[in-house]
């Protein structure tokens, strides 16, 4: 393959300003928001920034022709290495496809391009009385396309459900280079639910180029409560009690002392730094129901030793509390140069013993672990803090991570709640899936992408995907192998 020719052909598709080929620049696509010490650094051979579906399709066809892997990427805020070009090849960055194409209030949907920023969509629809419910903590930077790829969650998914509950249809460029639409503006489409298959497939089955999202009516009233607790145990007992009482808040979040200290240092939002843990509870709905639920939750928190229950007095105060909470991962940079973030989920009743286990791990491996998570969903986010330059640290961190996930799975939980599998968590899938389960998924992957060149090395466990590739090779289908810069310069 001739690198210069390919570059010219890519430029003919997206223009010279839409192709990155300079190695000095390609390095800034080696990372996403996951830790490079864990996910590793991988450099794409080319980055292209298309502006239309046709351009995406043309780039995909070129990659296919040249046998190069394709890695789609949005804002690069993913936490599992999903948007890293693990085998080089062509990275398709969708940030320039960022138009909101249609907002249809009467049928309650919007059609957007994948590079639209999550919060920008809600900002555009809020004045019209609607919002896009999935609100990952990175929502002010992450893209809708990334949300679709990872089936992202967020604090408000407790009540509203994750991304897949809010996607009505997709326009997708398939590995074959064809462009198809799935789903549509009506609640149920006949036939195989391809939208459901594609949401959460992390760019391994296709590149989404348009997204039809469901819009949710703005609630009549919103109330945010902040309840500090002396310990993380008392706070998790309160969570179990709230859930048991049958109250459904819009969001029910917990932060432990380390996390509170980090976000307070960053934003001075008003979290009490002396608390063992805080619960941040949002209730929304009809005004009367909100008041009633708020009273019930306040009582439960008090019964479980909350030192106080504060109601955010204004919209500004609510926003300040949420802004700080949603920046908690980034705020860890104030405590540590590196962190390994887990995304395990356990049944809510298992929260107290699981958090206790996290504490034990912290002691056993001599690692500081911060907890900031969607307590209402039982979706833990332990952040294991470390310094990659400390000898042996990475090994300890990985062992602690594996111990934790094994524990969660034993308790009826799972290895990832919302961040995706990507590069970082693929080997944990064997904890929850049998070889037959995985083979069924691989069969689906094969039918979309027989050449296995879309986002290779992601999602499927290492041992498994090697076997799969060997099988495909044996069948005589050409397999992409990545290119490596040394081959082409």
């Amino acid at each position: 393959m001739d690198r210069a020719t390919l570059r010219e052909r890519l430029e003919a598709v997206v223009g010279a300003g839409g192709v990155v080929a300079d190695p000095s620049e390609l390095v800034v696509y080696e990372y996403d928001a996951s830790d490079e010490a864990i996910a590793g650094r991988h450099r794409p051979d080319f980055v292209v920034l298309p502006e239309t579906t046709e351009q995406v399709a043309a780039v995909v066809r070129l990659a296919r022709e040249y046998g190069l892997p394709v890695t789609p990427r949005g804002a690069g805020t993913g936490l599992a290495g999903g948007a890293i070009a693990a085998r080089g090849g062509i990275m398709v960055v969708l940030t320039r496809m960022n138009r909101i194409l249609e907002i249809n209030e009467r049928d309650r949907y919007a059609i957007v391009e994948p590079g639209v920023i999550n919060l920008e969509l809600s900002t555009a629809t809020l004045p019209r009385g609607y919002f896009f419910a999935p609100d990952p903590s990175s929502q002010r930077a992450c893209t809708i396309g990334g949300n679709v790829a990872n089936n992202s969650g967020g604090p408000h998914c407790l009540k509203y459900g994750v991304t897949s509950n809010h996607i009505m249809g997709l326009e997708v460029v398939l590995p074959s280079g064809e462009v198809v639409w799935t789903g549509g503006p009506v609640p149920e489409s006949p036939g195989v639910d391809l939208t459901g298959v594609l949401v959460g497939s992390e760019g391994t089955l296709g590149i989404v180029t348009k997204v039809m999202v469901r819009l949710t009516r703005n609630p009549e009233a919103v109330s945010v409560l902040l309840a500090p607790f002396p310990t993380i145990e008392t706070a998790s007992n309160a969570v179990s009690a709230i859930v048991a009482a049958g109250v459904l808040p819009a969001a029910l979040e917990m932060m432990d002392r380390l996390s509170i200290q980090a976000v307070e240092a960053a934003f001075h939002a008003g979290y009490p730094t002396d608390a063992g843990a805080v619960l941040l509870v949002e209730i929304d709905g009809l005004a009367e129901a909100v008041a009633e639920s708020a009273d019930a939750i306040t009582d439960i928190c008090r019964q479980h030793d909350a030192t106080e229950v504060r109601v955010a007095a204004s919209a500004e105060e609510r926003e300040a509390l949420w802004f700080a909470r949603k920046a908690a991962f980034g705020a860890m940079g104030r405590l540590t140069p590196n962190y390994y973030l887990q995304d395990a989920t356990v049944p809510r009743t298992q929260l107290p013993p699981t958090l206790q286990f996290v504490e034990e791990l912290s002691r056993e491996y001599r690692l500081r672990i911060a907890n900031v998570f969607h307590a209402g969903d039982g979706n833990l986010h332990p952040l294991i803090l470390f310094d990659r330059y400390e000898k042996g640290a990475i090994e300890r961190v990985l062992r602690a991570g594996t111990d934790l996930l094994t524990y969660c799975v034993e308790r009826g939980g799972t290895v990832s709640g919302e961040h995706g599998i990507g590069l970082e968590k693929k080997d944990y899938l064997t904890l929850i899936f049998t070889p037959d389960d995985l083979a069924a998924m691989a069969g689906l992957k094969r039918s979309f992408d027989p050449l296995a060149y879309f986002n290779p090395d992601k999602v499927f466990p290492t041992s498994f995907s090697c076997g799969e590739l060997a099988a495909v090779k044996a069948a005589g289908v050409p397999v992409s192998g990545g290119l490596g810069l040394e081959d082409v310069i």
Binding site: V28, Y31, L49, R96, S138, A141, A266, F267, G330, R334
Partner: protein, 448 residues
């Protein structure tokens, strides 16, 4: 025996003003900064984002990227140093600090063309370091502006051919009377509430002397005695931002010496860019044993005029101004100094004034010191976006609080054939007080 300090290095960085490795490492590349960055918003390209630039710095610091790689240089200077990323960064990365250090590193390492060196010497070291020279040059500029020459030149097309058309358009109209600080004190009106020193700066005291006059009137009217300390000069922000921190340090020492006066409650500054630089003197002179402590003490006394007035409260009631305004946040006020509520609070204190918020108020207007002269393409794209946002509010007046932004916005409006005024926030307050006075006079006249 004299010893030479060993030359410090950090990968490809070497010599003085090394970017801090710890600051570079404090970025966990979460990406939450991306949408706040003007150059990322315009290009959607990772290299032109704060996260991308920090990664490039990291590459240089690890010896993997050459300090003088054209890409590195391009990105360090395409950055507006607006510091919007810093204000939203959860990890607290001191971005401004490392981008300024990286620029200083580039300037140390490369040999600029003799023409550039001469121009720098003339402007940075000759003009801005001595206020007498600066005023003389400003007076000459005023004479020129009042002569028929500018129009002749513009019509001749000579400016375009010399590549000076943009700069010519952006030139401020120089005030008739300069503010020359010579130790004089303007007495407080009404109940005495304290004594403050006004930081007069360079361009503010000549081109924008009217804003200084308005600031003095508003402060004295609110019970503050205002002193114009002798011996002060330019704050040095332009030098530091252009990668010449030593010139900035010389100016900082001069200002610290001038303001070595314990009888001041605060040092008031009305230019956001200068204010941010003055508040960072502590960092700028941290390695100077004779000045480190004094610089930190000086910095802690500096307050933006809006910050000061909002904190102290207005003791004099502003009169009504029946106008609709929109507020454009100067980056170095909103991001570098995190002052966003106070200006709005003051505007809302004016009866009958209607404040309509523009979208993206905190996105840079493209002025950024001398950025609009160096990077006219990016600057004018940002300016167009800013003006569209500002005009969408239907406001009759755009209010800001920094000379650079005001120049940029005014030039942009005039180019669109729009005659809307761009005012500094203290000018609006000053007009409100004038309205109060006029009202009081007419009531008095009626009573007679």
């Amino acid at each position: 025996m004299a010893t030479t300090a060993p030359i410090e290095t950090l990968g490809g960085f070497r010599g003085h003003d090394l970017p801090s490795r710890d600051v570079i490492r404090s970025c966990v590349h979460c990406g939450l900064c991306l949408p706040s960055c003007p150059t990322y918003v315009m290009t959607r390209r990772e290299r032109s984002s704060p996260r991308g630039r920090i990664w490039l710095m990291k590459e240089v610091s690890e010896g993997k990227l050459d300090l003088l790689d054209p890409l590195f240089e391009e990105e360090m200077y395409l950055c507006l140093n607006c510091r919007a990323c810093e204000a939203v960064c959860p990890s607290g990365v001191k971005y401004g600090e490392i981008v300024e250090a990286s620029r200083a590193q580039i300037e140390q390492a490369r040999q600029p063309a003799p023409k550039v060196r001469l121009l720098r010497k003339l402007v940075f070291h000759f003009l801005f370091t001595d206020m007498r020279r600066f005023r003389a040059a400003s007076a000459a500029l005023r004479l020129y502006q009042r002569s028929p020459l500018p129009r002749l030149l513009e019509r001749s097309g000579l400016l375009t051919r010399l590549g000076l058309a943009e700069a010519h358009k952006l030139m401020p109209t120089v005030s008739a009377r300069f503010v020359v600080p010579s130790g004089e004190t303007m007495p407080a009106q009404g109940t005495w509430r304290g004594r403050v020193g006004l930081f007069t700066g360079c361009i503010m005291s000549t081109a924008y002397a009217d804003i200084h006059q308005a600031t003095i009137r508003v402060l004295t009217r609110n019970g503050y005695e205002v002193t114009l300390i002798n011996g002060q000069g330019c704050c040095g922000a332009l030098h530091v931002h252009a990668g010449d921190p030593n010139a900035g340090r010389a100016l900082a020492r001069k200002n610290i010496d001038a303001f070595d006066n314990p009888h001041l409650d605060a040092i008031i500054v009305n230019a956001a860019g200068c204010g941010a630089a003055l508040k960072e003197y502590g960092h700028l002179l941290k390695d100077d044993p004779a000045y480190a402590e004094r610089a930190a003490a000086f910095a802690s006394r500096v307050q933006d005029v809006t910050e000061f007035l909002a904190a102290q409260g207005l003791s004099a009631e502003p009169g009504p101004l029946p106008i609709t305004v929109t507020y454009q946040e100067p980056c170095h006020l909103a991001h570098a100094q995190r002052i966003t509520r106070q200006p709005r609070h003051l505007l809302k204190a004016i009866p009958e004034l209607r404040l309509v918020e523009m979208p993206e108020s905190s996105l840079c207007c493209g002025s950024a010191g001398i950025y609009n002269l160096m990077r006219p393409e990016m600057a004018s794209a940002l300016l167009a976006r800013k003006l569209d946002n500002a005009l969408s509010t239907g406001a009759g007046v755009i209010v800001s609080a920094n000379p650079g932004c005001m120049l940029q916005l005014t030039a942009g409006l005039r180019a669109r054939g729009d005659s809307r005024p761009v005012l500094h926030l203290v000018e609006v307050l000053d007009r409100a007080y004038a309205a109060a006075e006029a009202h009081a006079r007419s009531v008095g006249a009626d009573a007679q």
